[in-house]
Symmetry: C2
Subunit: 202 residues, 2 copies
DNA sequence: GTCTATATAAAGATAGAC
DNA sequence: GTCTATCTTTATATAGAC
């Protein structure tokens, strides 16, 4: 095992920035936070990202969205042919990842950015993530697997639902987050009247 | 109508801060943003809030949480005896208000606060908001109005679901946000197999 | 590529006049 | 109560040495 498996400084900067931006948001993270976490001074970041903090953030977010798009797509495909399997795959993916905090990105982080940049990132979210879920739902509806519904509305709702699991206070997490996600998926599929779930009361 | 209905400066500061903090988060709002929006200099804020920005934020958040608690409670009571009515009331309330962004508050805004302050605010959220929804669900389950379910999990999920409506891109909002919220409530109640909803296809 | 040093701007906070 | 003025710290960003 050579030491060549260590990413170059640019990639390490992107990785560090991704974690910090995801956890604290654009304004709360300083370039020094990022650079010092990979053993550089903040000035070195301007060599790799001449556009400064905004360029770094935009690059990080785009990479993050694309990674989520690819991971989500694979997880859906691995879920098998049923809608339930596909949605469980999607839930597993989002639960396995740090929270995307799309609300914060849209409403806070991108507020001070050039509209073109902000627009582009939000379009990517829609195209690679929301649309992917929407298509799954629309296919199930069109094939009659489920009844009439609004796939666009439901896709956003499902994402909010699953991502909200990341905010569950630790002392409330009695079970595996993934099991909780699956239970919420079953609620969406069958409603809370659903009797055949594995859940056995409080 | 006397001019006495104008709130005092302290209240106007809290009001302005509430809107700004809600929209942009703790770090993105400056004391000058708040003071200038009510025609004061930022130094004047230190007369009303000697503890500075952190005190102001904590006061604003506590007031906001209590207002949501009261509004939510009233909305649930006005929803009538059925679970569906109560949940529709809750949805109407959250949709009528600016987004709470509890995720951002818990994960970003409060990260740099004293643990005791952060803990206290999160406890208030649980006690006044999540618990209120949880109780409604538990009562419906215990009375047999719905089947077995986990009220704690569902309360958080419902909140995430409804709050996610605030992030729906404007060009996607084909209908009234409240109607969309009601449709999501019906999904939770009956699942997407539900055929008797008013929804009439894409 | 990364550093040190520095320029510049903005923010929280305080002192003291009015 | 609110202001002006100032202090201190911290951030982004740049220049130039190595």
């Amino acid at each position: 095992m050579s030491d060549e498996d260590r990413p170059d400084a640019r990639t390490r900067a992107l990785d560090a920035a991704e974690g910090l931006f995801a956890a604290k948001g654009f304004d709360s993270v300083t370039l020094r936070d990022i650079s010092s976490s990979i053993g550089l001074t903040h000035a070195a970041l301007y060599y790799h990202f001449p556009g400064g903090k905004e360029e770094l953030f935009a690059l990080v977010m785009e990479r993050n969205i694309r990674r989520h798009g690819a991971g989500l797509s694979a997880a859906i495909d691995e879920g098998g042919p049923s809608l339930r399997g596909k949605l469980r795959g999607a839930a597993s993916w989002f639960i396995s990842q740090p929270p995307m905090n799309l609300n914060r990105m849209a409403q806070s982080d991108l507020a001070a950015f050039e509209p073109a940049v902000a627009r582009r990132l939000m379009d990517l979210v829609y195209e690679l993530i929301l649309r992917r879920i929407q298509i799954v739902l629309a296919a199930a509806r069109d094939s009659g697997e489920v009844g009439p519904c609004d796939p666009g509305l439901l896709a956003g709702g499902l994402l909010g639902l699953i991502e909200s699991l990341h905010s569950v206070p630790v002392h409330i997490v009695k079970r595996d987050l993934c099991a909780m996600g699956f239970e919420l998926i079953d609620v969406v599929l069958k409603g809370i009247d659903y009797k055949e779930t594995g859940y056995a009361g409080s």
